[in-house]
């Protein structure tokens, strides 16, 4: 039961080969773009690596880069194969190459689709990674003298100013950590001692935020300290004040930033996947159509092309047990039945036939390769 049988006349085969050649070069460019998009995503993720706890999300850009490179190779060979397809002498060279080629191509195309699905599905993993990463960064904000944490303060400040966000979920996260180092606290002061005592862990907690949370769009100078104390500031109500600080949390901001970046990239890669799939399907049709022509004296006959010779289940079983014949008359193990009578071989070899691929595509006659029918002993003589 052949899967997707289609008839191909000679003209249709020529057109298919030409169209496929163009399509494969377009897909090569598209694969290069996929690789670039993977690199861009990886760079963006690495820039904020300090506020991410786990590197699970990096599987998306890594897959995109691998798939991009593999597609470059796949499409390069596709263009070479379809160039040789209409040439009956050069096409049989590819015979042994085609099966592993199609297997590898299908694998990488499916991997491309997986990358697209992952870019949408890994949002939850990204969010939890950011949650833990931001919590740690905020905790180590004050440790500018500890090796390994010296740059946390700078990173958090730049992050909050660039993305216009404050804290993990919101600015109140700063109330729960001690973000002022003990080095800058006057332990002889009564106020400091009271605050430290009022806390179980002995931490200096205040209702204040770093300056990087300040919103420049606020009409009044920034209020950073004593945020919950209305009487500490003139004409200030902390419950209705919206413009003083950034209200969004950095986790939410970063998740939406990366999600929008990954959906844009995912849409692009999906279109590359469709292109790649169409290249492979067309190549399979061309291969099967040309295989039926091999050995025949008239190359301009109408042939049939198909995707799979047998049904899907039979093909899979065949891969597991090669040589098992289920349908005798189109078994893979029987010798090719198409042969050329010896008298026609000698006549045909004196007449060089121009390569139809290039004669249809170009008008120059200087570089048209001549084709002669094979006179090797591979065909059984009648």
């Amino acid at each position: 039961m052949v899967v997707m049988k289609m008839k191909f006349s000679f003209q249709k085969r020529v057109k298919l080969a030409q169209g496929l050649w163009l399509l494969s070069w377009c897909t090569t460019v598209a694969s290069a773009i996929t690789f670039t998009l993977g690199c861009i995503l990886k760079m963006e993720l690495r820039r904020r690596a300090e506020v991410m706890d786990s590197g699970n999300i990096h599987v998306v850009p890594n897959t995109l880069m691998i798939v991009g490179l593999a597609s470059l190779g796949i499409n390069y060979f596709a263009s070479k194969i379809c160039q040789d397809a209409l040439d009956a002498e050069r096409f049989p060279r590819w015979k042994n190459f085609l099966k592993p080629y199609f297997a590898a191509s299908c694998f990488f195309t499916v991997l491309m689709l997986l990358a697209v699905i992952m870019s949408y599905a890994m949002k939850g993993s990204l969010e939890s990674s950011l949650k833990v990463g931001l919590k740690n960064s905020i905790r180590f904000y004050k440790d500018t003298d500890t090796p390994g944490h010296c740059y946390q303060k700078q990173n958090i400040d730049y992050l909050q100013m660039e993305f216009q966000c404050c804290g993990n979920s919101d600015f109140r996260d700063w109330f729960e950590v001690q973000w002022i180092s003990n080095r800058y606290l006057d332990f002889s002061s009564k106020e400091v001692k009271d605050r430290i005592k009022s806390n179980v862990d002995g931490r200096y907690l205040i209702d204040g935020v770093p300056f990087s949370c300040c919103n420049p769009s606020s009409p009044r100078p920034c209020i950073q300290y004593q945020l919950t104390n209305n009487s500490a500031h003139y004409n200030y109500d902390h419950q209705t004040e919206e413009l003083n600080l950034y209200l969004r949390g950095c986790r939410e901001t970063l998740v939406s930033y990366y999600t929008s970046l990954m959906s844009t990239i995912g849409t692009g890669v999906l279109s590359v996947f469709l292109l790649q799939g169409s290249v492979l399907v067309s190549l399979r049709f061309l291969q099967t159509a040309m295989e039926a022509v091999v050995g025949k004296e008239n190359t301009e006959i109408e042939t049939e092309g198909y995707l799979l010779e047998k049904g899907v289940k039979d093909t899979i079983m065949d891969l597991h047990q090669p040589g098992r014949c289920t349908v005798p008359h189109i078994c893979l193990c029987s010798p090719p039945s198409s042969t050329l009578p010896p008298q026609l071989t000698s006549i045909a070899s004196d007449q060089p036939v121009s390569d139809p691929f290039f004669s249809a595509a170009r008008s120059t006659s200087s570089s048209i390769p001549t084709v002669t029918y094979p006179r090797t002993g591979s065909h059984p003589v009648l």
Binding site: W179, S189, C214, P216, S217, P219, Y234
Partner: protein, 360 residues
């Protein structure tokens, strides 16, 4: 004595025309680059236009944009002309247009040079403009409720955050302006009233700075208030003070930023000017060579091409005379075709002689 005389064979003329056609098309691309540069410069200046007091700095990008568009048009026409110039018959179509075209292109090329030089000379004007603009911006920082000035606070904050600078010359400039609005000052508080009274103009001046002056490189949380009083803060030593706020003034930072942009733009415009000059010279040679071919009559012969027919002094002198004579009215004495008054006296005598015989 012609200036820059070169002899051209027919083949050389045709080659020159082809090369000029290609160069004209490259010039069209150069014109688009010029347009793009002007647009880029305009956008960069407009980003921080609010801290510049005068808008004369916008002349440079406007000139570049106009010159870019003009270059595209002129060189497109030039390409068409040069393509036709290889053939003497087609040259006749363009013969009358060539001279005005060359003069036009010469003026255009001078304008490109003027644009390039303007890019380099802008520095002093820019410094003055930034000084006044930043001073005003800091003065109106608190006026977020006054129409026309509502966004100065935001602009100045973003400027200080992005360029890592504070104040006009340094952070102490903030000590001399009232940057906290009266709306947010508790006038009943004695501390506030004391500060206002201690000042001649009744301004609330403090030794503190806005949050946007805070340096992200500081290891300790930012100290914005009571900056000059180091004992007010625990362990506020010299090193902490150095790292606490941004040290540079915004005027110097912006000046450096714009000077570097304009120097790169100016360099590219100079290169484009040199290229345009080359194309202009080539077109002039082609024009004179083709005209001389027509004068000689034989389209296949050799002809001379030059930049100026006579020496520079003679050309200037003759052009000056032409311009002088343009203004003069038409004078009878100069024209030999008209009868002078002596001839009219002789005409009167025959008419009298005619009358006398009739009477007798």
């Amino acid at each position: 004595m012609a200036v820059g005389k070169v002899t051209f064979t027919k083949a050389e003329r045709e080659k020159l025309a082809e090369v000029l056609w290609l160069l004209n098309w490259i010039s069209v691309v150069a014109g688009m680059i010029l347009f793009g540069l002007g647009l880029f410069l305009k956008i960069e200046i407009q980003k921080w236009q609010e801290v510049m007091s005068d808008q004369e700095i916008l002349y440079a990008p406007h000139i570049l944009i106009t010159m870019g568009l003009a270059a595209c048009g002129i060189n497109f026409l030039g390409g068409k002309i040069c393509l036709d110039c290889a053939d003497t018959n087609k040259f006749l179509h363009w013969k009358l247009v060539m001279m005005p075209y060359i003069i036009c292109t010469f003026f255009f090329t001078s304008c490109v040079l003027a644009g390039a030089l303007m890019c380099y000379s802008i520095r002093s004007q820019l410094e003055e403009s930034l000084f006044l603009g930043l001073r005003n911006a800091m003065r109106y920082y608190k006026d977020t409720d006054t129409p026309g000035r509502c966004y100065l606070k935001r602009t100045l904050d973003l400027l200080q955050i992005q360029f890592h600078c504070c104040g006009n010359t340094g952070y102490r400039d903030w000590f001399q302006v009232q940057w906290i609005s009266d709306r947010y000052l508790d006038m009943t508080s004695s501390a506030v009233v004391d500060r206002l009274r201690s000042n001649v103009q009744g301004k609330y001046l403090v030794d503190s700075v806005p949050f946007s002056c805070c340096s992200t490189l500081s290891p300790r949380p930012c100290i914005q208030q009571q900056i000059s009083n180091s004992s007010a803060h625990f362990s506020f030593d010299q090193q902490s003070q150095q790292l606490n706020l941004w040290k540079r003034g915004c005027r110097q930072t912006l000046l450096d930023h714009y000077t570097s942009i304009m120097q790169s733009v100016g360099l590219i415009v100079l290169l484009i000017w040199l290229f345009e000059l080359l194309v202009l010279t080539g077109v002039r040679y082609l024009q004179t060579a083709m005209e001389n071919v027509l004068r000689l009559g034989d389209p296949d012969s050799e002809s001379d091409g030059w930049i100026l027919e006579n020496s520079l002094a003679e050309t200037a002198h003759s052009n000056f005379n032409i311009i002088k004579n343009l203004g003069k009215c038409y004078q009878v004495d100069d024209d030999l075709n008209i009868n002078i008054p002596a001839a009219t006296a002789q005409q009167e005598v025959p008419s009298q002689q005619n009358q006398i015989p009739a009477a007798s």
